[in-house]
Every structure is written in C-alpha cells, then in structure tokens.
C-alpha cells in the first residue's frame, strides 16, 4: 500500500473524510557543507514510514537545512548524498510543506488559501473535498474570512488544512507550532497528529516536550552530528499531555540538549 496518493475516501454529506494512509519511509544519507565548511558529515536520517520523526536541536544547528533539502528547497548548502523514499519511487511531487510562518496569502479568503496548491498548479480545485476538510478542522464558520480576521491558532489551522489538501505521502513541518501559545500549541499537535496519521511526517522542532509527545522516532542534531534517541514509550501519537513517562522523557531530552 505504499504511496497511495489520492486514496482519501470522503462522504461529503456527512462532512467526514477518512484517510486510510500508509506512506513509505524516506532516507537521507550524505554530507552537508556550507561554503566548504562541513555542517554534517556522513549522516543518515531515516524517516519512520507512516509515522512522526522529530528532528530536535537548538536554533542554528542546521536542522531546517535537512528539511529543506528533502523539500527540494534552496538551502545555500552543498549536499553530497541521496534522498530516497523507501518505495524507490521519485520524491518529486510527493512532499507537502508547512512552516512556522503560516504563509497565508492576505488577499485570499480561507478557502482560497486552502485551494492554493491546485490554483498554483493550474489544476481544478476539488471544492467538496476542500469544504469537508475545512469542516473537519472546525473552520467552517470562518470559510469566507481573510487571514487578517483570524487568530494565530486559526491561521495555523488553515495552514494545516492547506497542507492536508495537498494530500502527499511526505509532510515536512518546520517548527509549525513554535510561535503559538501553550494551549493552542497542544491543540494543534493533537489536530496535526490526528489528521496526518499514516503519513510520513518530519517535524523540525527545538521543543523537547514536543518531540517527546509526537515522535515515533527522534533525532538530535547538535555539534555537527546527528544521533538517534529512543522515543517516549507508547506507539500512538500524540501521547497524552499528562503522560508521566512522556513528560520525564521530554525532561531527559531537555537535559541532553543542555549538556
């Protein structure tokens, strides 16, 4: 069932979309250099198939660079290596991207923003699917609003809807929740985990608690090296926010970051 893009079945009369999704994994292997200065030498980043991989590290450690390499975006770095999905198919066109900045277009209303991908490709927009998605994320009441009329949390939910609308195997999240207040952040983590279930997610974050809560796999990036750390116990994410094992795992991650 690898790479079954477009397998969403939805019943629009109920406003429900069910994702049956089982995305492949992905491996980045190689070296990254910035203008001759090595950032990472001979590293391997393995994304958990159909699960959440958290890339944790302090600001400026270059974790976004890895995400941008996978997204096919300009990084200013030289990458010598390979980025290959585990189904050996081409990666291009199979990635959705969400950043810390919601990147909503202020001149488009909520639906226009969610429809952006299709509009930019010149494809017809699947409006029933879009409206079902907007409904599923609890945004129906705001469907005709411009981003300026939405709160920060709502805007990030629209960005999530736009990401889901892309319906891709690989979802790359570059600190999408870090500018939100604690409660909204926890809500967004729940929402993202629920709706991205089955997809291969890479989450770049500097928040150890977030990594503990969401990661099926956790990588720590510091001092020009990448090391894999065992995740918190429990295979279903998001782990409950008051789960003692998860909390102590997050605390341990924090201590590890501080040394």
């Amino acid at each position: 069932m690898a790479g079954n893009v477009g397998s969403d079945s939805y019943e629009s009369h109920m406003g429900v979309i069910r994702d049956s999704y089982d995305a492949p994994g992905l491996r980045l292997a190689g070296s990254v250099r910035f203008g001759g200065v090595p950032l990472l030498a001979d590293v391997t980043l393995d994304l958990a198939p159909g699960g959440w991989t958290c890339l944790l590290g302090p600001s400026g450690s270059g974790k976004s660079t890895l995400l941008r390499l996978i997204a096919g975006l300009d990084t200013g770095a030289d990458f010598d290596g390979t980025i290959i999905p585990s189904d050996d198919k081409d990666l291009s066109g199979r990635v959705a991207y969400m950043a810390q900045d919601d990147l909503l277009m202020p001149w488009l209303d909520l639906r226009g923003n969610v429809a952006l991908g299709a509009r930019l490709r010149g494809d017809p927009v699947d409006w029933p699917r879009l409206d079902a998605l907007v409904d599923r994320l609890g945004l129906s009441d705001h469907a005709a609003k411009r981003p300026a009329k939405l709160s920060g949390g709502q805007r990030q939910r629209v960005a999530l809807a736009r990401t889901l609308m892309e319906n891709k195997d690989f979802v790359l999240l570059d600190e999408p929740f870090s500018a939100l207040d604690a409660r909204t952040r926890a809500d967004m983590q729940d929402l993202a985990a629920r709706h991205l279930a089955g997809r291969t997610v890479l989450l770049v974050t500097h928040d150890p608690m977030e990594a503990a809560r969401l990661g099926h796999k956790i990588y720590l990036m510091e001092n020009n090296a990448l090391s894999e750390i065992p995740p918190a116990p429990g295979a279903t994410v998001p782990r409950p926010g008051d789960d003692a094992a998860m909390l102590s795992h997050g605390a341990a991650l924090l201590e590890r970051l501080r040394t």
Partner: protein, 245 residues
C-alpha cells in the same frame, strides 16, 4: 475635523504670508500680484483657463495611463526574464541619466505641436518611477511564499499572477502616486517648448503680455489639478491594496 482643518489652515497662512509680502515689500503687480488680484484674474478668465486646463488634464491623464501600462508591462517583463533584465536594465538607468527635459524640443520636432508630444513627455517622465517601483516589488516577494509555491510544484506563470503580482501591488501603488505628481511636469514642459493650447502655453502667453496675474491664476489651477490627481490616484491605490489585504 483636524484632518480637514489642517490643510485649510496651511492654505490660509500661505495666502496671508503672500499678501503680507506683496504689501510690505511694496511689490508691483507685474512682479508679484497679490492673491486677490490673482483670484480676480481667475474669475474673469474662468472660461479661458478652464479650456486650457482641460487640454492639459487630457494630456496628463492619457500620459498617466499609457506610462503606467508601459511601466507595469516592462516591470513584468523584467521580472520574468533574466535576459530582459540583463539587456534592459542598463538601458533603463541610462534613460535616467539623460534629462527628459532636454528631449522636449526633439519630441516637438518629431511629433508636432499637438497633444502627442506632451503625452509622450508625460509617459517618459513617469515610465521609470513606475517600472522601478513595481519591479522592486516583484523581485522582493517574501521568500516563504515562493518556497511554499515550489513545494507545491507551482507553474511559474501562476506564481507570477497569483503570488508575485498581488504581493507587489503596494509597490506599484507607490510608483503610481509618484507618477500622478510627475506626469503634469512632463505635459507642462511639452507645452512650454511648443504648443498652441494648455496651461503651460497659457502661462507663457500671459507672461509675454505682462498679464502676470493671469499667469499666476493658471499656475494655481495647475497646482490644484496636480493635488487632486495625486489624491485621486492615492485613493484608487488604497482601495486596490485594501481589497487585497
């Protein structure tokens, strides 16, 4: 209230200072007529001035429309084509090194004494500010939007029209505001060099016949016209940008 009163207060102060200067320095009317004399000349020659103002306004508006379209078109071309950037940008800068004023006699020679040479002057004078403002906006689309578009495998054509152009409209608007002030300069210069109608022509005519009060009346009408045009373009631009944001 204060917003409407402030310009009125400024205008009143200027008129008072003007009258004071004329009275205190005992300036003869053929050097500097007082505001009252100018107002009288304006009233007495209202039809004449209105006719010439209409001509100038036509030149200015046509120049503004043509120059804005041409400038915006050039900016788009420069934005989508690196080749055009390499070839055209030096030429554009070069045209700015050449004083447009100096071209007025040549344009009159080529295009004659009619509206065309004045419209072209106005086009030439606003072309660069419009092009340069819009082009700047098109080249400074926020990086994140372009990244997002790239991950969505967007077509360059759609990125241009659905992201870069709307994002650059505030820049285009500031170029158009400048153009609204510059365009009358072009038209007036054209009229000075050679014309048989228009406010610039009327000013030269009045000057030659020592009707200095009429000259100032024409000047005042020109100033008001430019201010109103600037205001109108400003409001139109604000509406456009507000619709987008």
């Amino acid at each position: 209230m204060i917003r409407t009163l402030t310009p009125l207060a400024i205008a009143a102060t200027v008129l008072l200072a003007w009258q004071a200067l004329v009275t205190l320095a005992a300036l003869p009317p053929f050097i500097l007529p007082g505001p009252w004399r100018v107002a009288k000349a304006l009233a007495e020659n209202a039809d004449l001035i209105a006719w010439h103002a209409g001509v100038t306004l036509t030149e200015v508006i046509l120049g503004l429309i043509l120059g804005s379209l041409l400038g915006a078109g050039t900016a788009l071309q420069l934005a989508i084509s690196p080749v055009a950037r390499r070839l055209l940008r030096p030429v554009l800068v070069l045209t700015q090194a050449l004083p447009v004023f100096a071209l007025a006699p040549i344009l009159t020679l080529w295009l004659g004494y009619g509206l065309e040479s004045k419209i072209l002057m106005a086009v030439l004078i606003i072309y660069f500010p419009v092009t340069s403002a819009f082009f700047d906006g098109l080249m400074h689309t926020p990086r994140g939007w372009l990244d997002l578009a790239q991950t969505m495998q967007a077509r360059p054509r759609h990125v241009l029209w659905r992201i870069r152009v709307p994002a650059a409209l505030p820049s285009l608007a500031s170029g158009l505001r400048l153009a609204a002030v510059y365009a009358p300069i072009g038209a007036i210069i054209g009229e000075w060099v050679g014309a048989s109608q228009g406010l610039g022509y009327l000013m030269l005519l009045a000057n030659g016949r020592a009707k200095i009060d009429l000259m100032f009346a024409a000047l005042a009408v020109l100033a008001v016209m430019t201010l109103l045009l600037h205001k109108a373009v400003g409001i139109a631009c604000d509406r456009l940008v507000a619709r987008l944001n």
